[in-house]
Symmetry: D2
Subunit: 93 residues, 4 copies
Amino acid sequence: MAGYSGSKHDHAMRLRRIEGQVRGLQRMVEDDKYCIDVLTQVSAATSALQSFALSMLEEHLAHCVAEATLKGGPEADAKIKEASDAIARLVRS
Amino acid sequence: MAGYSGSKHDHAMRLRRIEGQVRGLQRMVEDDKYCIDVLTQVSAATSALQSFALSMLEEHLAHCVAEATLKGGPEADAKIKEASDAIARLVRS
Amino acid sequence: MAGYSGSKHDHAMRLRRIEGQVRGLQRMVEDDKYCIDVLTQVSAATSALQSFALSMLEEHLAHCVAEATLKGGPEADAKIKEASDAIARLVRS
Amino acid sequence: MAGYSGSKHDHAMRLRRIEGQVRGLQRMVEDDKYCIDVLTQVSAATSALQSFALSMLEEHLAHCVAEATLKGGPEADAKIKEASDAIARLVRS
């Protein structure tokens, strides 16, 4: 079971909205919309993806990482390293 | 006509791939995939959106902004301000 | 005691290098260096600050957040919320 | 002469403030300040560096790139490619 089971419905809704934004971008390009308006819409979609990631990450820390910490041992350290690497990918993407 | 008409097909293809990545994210959440794997896929989609934006921005500078510069006057300055604001939104999103 | 005491010397060294990069930027501007070369150096300093932040964040998760988790109760939740907010600021800055 | 000569003094002032922020970070680490407070200060310094970069980039577009566009030829294309690459480094850093 994933650490985000309690908010699965919220995550699915968010992602559907992001899919809608990306389809909107396709229509904008199809209709030759002005570059700057397309770029504004890309920034909105990127921000929405980041908010989704941040909310999933918070649940991961609160559930998966916290559980591993309570068990202790090398798996706890591995979970923190893994979460830190995911945070680095988010910060750099 | 938008500044990216010559590469409209490429842009449409890129956006379709990004839509596919977002639909893939929906399936991952639906199937309770591990948070970290979901986050890795979000980073990939975010990077793809940024690459799309950077390519559209380069065409905007090469066409719309360059044309305004050749005409000169206040519209040239306005185009550069407008492009700079779009760049700021990308850097901060 | 801060969660990063063990690596305080490393952090101090990193920050001194970043200070050196920012002083180098001042010399570049003073000497009218080419804009693009200045921008390349800004990207390097920004990346160095992010690496410093990511390394401090990993230690924070491994020490402060892990200790709060072991104690449990509302303070554990508060620590995770606080760390998530700090991650959000990093992702968005 | 660099494209930012008119605002050299402003740029120098901004960079001195950023140097002050990085020195402040060194004092925070020296004094074992709480990780989250250090991270908040890193986000502030990163944002200040990005604002500096965005302002320098706008001047570069308004002066160096605009001049190359007016001259035309392969150098104009090269300047736009060069600026786009610098923007990509900023977006990804």
